[in-house]
Amino acid sequence: MTHTGTVSAVRPQRIGARSDFVQRYSTLVVLVLVFVVFALTVDRFLTAQNLLNIAQQISMLTIVGVGLTFGFAAREMDLSVGFTVGLTGILVPLLLINGVAAPLAFLAGLGAGLVVGLVNAGLVTAMGIPSLIATLAVGSILLGINFLLTGGRAIYGGLPEGYLWLGQGRVGGVPILAFFMIGAVAVAWFVMERTIFGRYIYAVGGNQKAAELSGVKVRFYRAASLVVCSLFAALAGILLAARLGSGQPNAGERYLLDGLATVFIGMTMLRPGTATILGTFFGALFIGIVNNGLNLLGMDTYVQAIVKGVIILIAVAIVSRTTKLTLL
């Protein structure tokens, strides 16, 4: 190995305290501002009922986003999550309707997620296919399977009450889904921030070469990040069907792009450039608040889509001035 041109221009990197704050918290400040503006201008926005609605609306999105965060932290992208959501959102209702006991059906759903994750991980780490491509192809395959399983029709009728309660019920006014979301965020945060597993996922994403030379089993952690990603998507799918009261072959698709959006917004805050669990959670909250506020104002979903796009661009633009955002 030769290294010519060893002129290492040591640029003094003194980032002032103020710009550091701007970098880390600007997106959160904007989030709070948006919240305040809605609270002051939109009638039914600042009510306990509505805030709980927001929590319910973003719960599946957050769970998918949390899974994607594991992938991004290790610099792996999973484009199959939306179809994994769809797969388990079909499989579990299908099993339940056919009389399979609920615990078994849930395990089968998570097992399907595990299989998808292992396939993704195998393609990426054993065969060396970039995750972007491997998961795109797997997503396409899953889409086909989803339609084959359902014949393109929704699966509904005869779903057990208990299952529907998971997606639609409340305890003391708080949606059950919100508990799942909080649980997923809490567990994922703990794993990423407080365990060796999480530390090594970040190490692989932060500097793969250094991780490898430090003895980190890079391939294992890259694979694990993809498996975790699929597992969270599988959970979201199970909950989604319960919320909708039916299994629909294309219900999961929007979770891919929205899920990626939560991670991107999250990467603009707290530790700019790095995907973090809390960042993703706030990213989902951001999208949820904006959608909800615009809804109450009677705006079309098209307008919501435009606003969402603009928010992502502004958040990323602020951070890109000082931090280089690299995804893969």
Binding site: V7, G206, N207
Partner: protein
């Protein structure tokens, strides 16, 4: 044409890459440019090629002062640069690469047939003796022919001076002669060549004149037949008088038991018949760039692709199977280029230190205790005298020397002395003088605790300062070892150029 550099200086923040270099380049010669890594060769040709603007000095062409602020401006003056990495577009054919950006068009569409004939005409004009298949995608061509395609493209304009940066570095030996002939033929065709290569034999064979750079200064320039290879090595490496080794970092003890022994060790084209290192000793590996000392040192930690006759650590035979075998047996590596190979810039010091042995601060089940992490990180930082206000500081806020201490500290954090062989590659690159001696003292301290220390370095003064004995590399093989009483720059240089008695 005569391009003259007059007192050219290039200052980067904290580094003087070129220090008042005066040299001239002509169109009727091959001008060899040599020097070890960091000597300033790349900076010099970057200025010549217009991609760097010097911070001082003048450039004149035939007496007329010029400013070459970009590669385009340099090209307008007749200077073209063929970089080391190669700049061909892999999927395109030779013809398409040769005329890249200057394709003949008809009605806005590339005229494919004319492109073929024009490219073929260019090749025939410059190198009629060469038969190139210009219809092949370049990635399917032999390496030498790819280089020729690149050279022809560079010669497309009205070029009088061609910079070739390590043109044969990636070439298999049997393809070199073809490229050598091409290079030799250029001055007769009115194009001067500035040739950078770390193969001294190649420089000797091809150049009319040779210029030697060291630490940003021009050391010698003159007709090629004036220098022998040994003299060139000497010029590249010898320090100015008075710049002797630093004070001995500590007393020396008798070396202990053999810590690591390998026999018939092969990695890539490097072959080491036998090597051993004992507990408590510091062994230096020296060699010219590309002579194999770095590759050998690295392979002792990461033995991917190594075959060996025997490998023993601490008297026990080790089978090279998994990548982690040697680390598990107690070998540590502090690699060169620490920001690429050892550290994570956005992490804080504690997280970086805990990269190898995070389990030290785990409460069980892989759950990390911040308190324990900070305590251990604090201990290591105090031991190594890292200048930082807390272990929660971001790594990028540290100076080069303190970053290097963190890279070393990774193997002390939570290691509880399990590493009996520590390998350092270029341990003080980009480290200030004061911190250098602290790092040497730390190596000595580790050696005194019974660790075997191996240092591969291109800094001969460093080797002279800390090593107990030296194993020189020459042409991918080990030479006869040099014991401390025989340490001298002259002896090192002789061994590195293969001219030792």
């Amino acid at each position: 044409m005569d391009i003259r550099f007059d007192g050219i200086t290039m200052e980067f923040p904290g580094t003087l890459a070129l220090d008042g270099v005066s040299v001239d380049f002509r169109t009727d010669e091959v001008h060899g440019l040599i020097g070890e890594n960091g000597a300033g060769k790349s900076t010099l040709v970057s200025i010549l090629g217009g991609s760097l603007a010097p911070t001082g000095g003048r450039i004149t062409i035939d007496g007329r002062e010029v400013r070459m602020g970009s590669p385009r401006e340099a090209l307008a003056e007749g200077v073209a640069h063929v970089s080391q990495e190669g700049s061909l577009v892999p999927g395109l054919t030779g013809a398409e690469n040769i005329l890249l950006g200057a394709e003949p068009r008809r009605a806005g569409v590339i005229a494919a047939r004319r492109l073929r004939t024009e490219a073929a005409a260019l090749v025939a004009r410059w190198f009629p003796e060469v038969a190139l298949d210009l219809g092949q995608p370049v990635n399917l061509l032999p390496m030498a022919e790819r280089k020729i395609v690149e050279i022809v493209r560079a010669l497309r304009g009205d070029v009088r001076l061609l910079i070739l940066d390590e043109p044969t570095a990636t070439l298999p030996a049997r393809e070199k002669s073809q490229l050598w002939q091409i290079i030799r033929s250029l001055p007769a065709r009115g194009v001067g060549v500035v040739l950078i290569s770390h193969f001294l034999s190649e420089i000797k064979a091809l150049s009319d004149r040779i210029t030697v750079l060291r630490d940003g200064q021009l050391i010698a320039t003159g007709a090629a037949d004036r220098f022998s290879e040994a003299e060139l090595v000497d010029l590249m490496l010898r320090r100015a008088s008075g710049e002797g080794p630093a004070a001995d970092a500590g007393r020396r003890r008798e070396a202990g038991a053999v810590a690591m022994r390998v026999a018939d060790w092969r990695t890539g084209r490097i072959h080491v018949p036998a090597f051993e290192i004992r507990a408590g000793e510091i062994v230096g590996l020296i060699g010219l760039t590309g002579s194999g000392h770095f590759g050998f040192a690295r392979s002792l930690y990461a033995p991917a692709g190594v075959t060996c006759g025997a490998c023993e650590i601490g008297g026990r035979a080790v089978a090279l199977g998994r990548a982690a075998t040697l680390r598990d047996a107690g070998v540590a590596l502090v690699p060169d280029h620490r920001m690429e190979n050892a550290l994570i810039g956005e992490w804080d010091l504690r997280e970086n230190l805990a990269m190898v042995h995070p389990e030290h601060a785990a409460l069980g089940a892989g759950i990390l205790s911040r308190r324990r992490e900070e305590a251990e990180a604090g201990r290591v930082m105090q031991l190594l005298a890292v200048k930082a206000h807390s272990s929660r500081q971001r790594l990028t806020t540290l100076s080069g020397g303190n970053k290097q201490k963190i890279a070393i500290g990774k193997w002390i954090y939570g290691a509880a002395g399990r590493y009996r062989v520590m390998i350092f590659i270029e341990p003080t690159e980009g480290v200030d003088v004061g911190t250098k001696s602290e790092i040497y003292a730390e190596m000595r301290r580790l050696a005194d605790q019974g660790v075997a220390i191996l240092i591969a370095s291109s800094d001969l003064i460093e080797i002279e300062t800390v090593a107990d004995r030296v194993v020189p590399f020459h042409q991918l093989m080990t030479g006869p070892e040099i014991a401390r009483p025989q340490f001298s720059e002259a002896n090192f240089i002789a061994a590195m150029s293969g001219t030792a008695a």
